[in-house]
Amino acid sequence: MTAFLQTVSVWTIPALIAFIPLYAAFRRVPVYESFVDGAKDGFQTAVAIIPHLVGMMTAISMFRASGAMDALTGAVRPLLERLGVPGEVIPLAFLRPLTGSGSLAFVTDLIREHGPDSLIGRIAATIQGSTDTTLYVLTVYFGAVGIRRARYALKVGLFSDAVGFFAAVAACWWLFGAV
């Protein structure tokens, strides 16, 4: 099953890149012109995202460098540890919604230090894999179309991150057992 799913992952992109123009050609679409025409929008969209992402990345980066992130982690540590969350994993609760590359680096470090098959390593990997970087997704998706008022979208995203975090910890305890 795993091997099958991984094969699907590898094949999908090249298959799509080949299939879409082929199908379009049968429908008598001037494929190359059509491609270039649409591709122009891609550049504009990427440029439109820059101010949004620069603003967010600056704030996140300052937040981590100032030590505020560590203080926040320290403040919730006793409570979360009582709930069965290993102390080493706690920074992820705040890193994951803020920065995808930052939390991936943190997870990689945890796996290196504690081993991939340790409970900490498994929990960290599960947390990283089960949610997306909410603030980044919001910035990019809404920034690309110029939405200024996100309304309740951020609350929903952060709520689901919190649920995902605890679900990941619980799932690992349940599947990989107490140590």
């Binding site: 992109i13 550049f43 704030a59 980066s61 030590g67 179309v145 799932a171």
Partner: protein
Amino acid sequence: MVNWIWLGMIVISFWFAALTGRMEEVTAAAFSGAQTGVTVCLGLIGILVLWMGLMRVAEDAGLVQKLAVLIGPAVRWLFPDVPRNHPAMGYILSNLSANLLGLGNAATPMGIRAMQELQKLNPDPRTATPAMCTLLALNTASITLVPTTLIAIRLQFGSQNPAEIIGSTLLATAIATGAAIAADRWYRRRTGAPPYSAEPARKRPATFDHSAGSAEAPGRG
């Protein structure tokens, strides 16, 4: 709410830096953070240009519309205010399938295309519609069948069974997605009153001016 989080992070950082004497580090971090923002966007350009081009081909061939017609009842239930045959539906489905397959690089441009189509249905282009919030909720929870990157990392550090986290990840992501959908529904029902429903939307452009925008969103949204 985004405004407050952004301002909060910056002000708290300044305060902490003043207390702990890390002003220099914070200065460096501010600039490197800005740099990262640009670098990430530059990295997105290639992928966005490629997929937006390909999707234009798919659109011209009628594939996106076809996908929209084939959409299952689940997606229609999630996006009740998007017309059934609207191209936005096709892009939403492409975006969700790409997420499911773990093709993050393909999912982002498709999601942005879906947002652009949803924007065409939006009476107030500066405020997110419920459909946009739902799409965002699904993407932040991101249901993934195979967490490829993490399996690769586990393999690299000598795991006995690198793929064994698929089960726990799938369980956690399903619960997180369920929570996202439930929360989204709850907020949609609570705030889904006009002018965001389809009916008064048509009247809106006539009254839309600078002051109209801020009056209807008393929360921090």
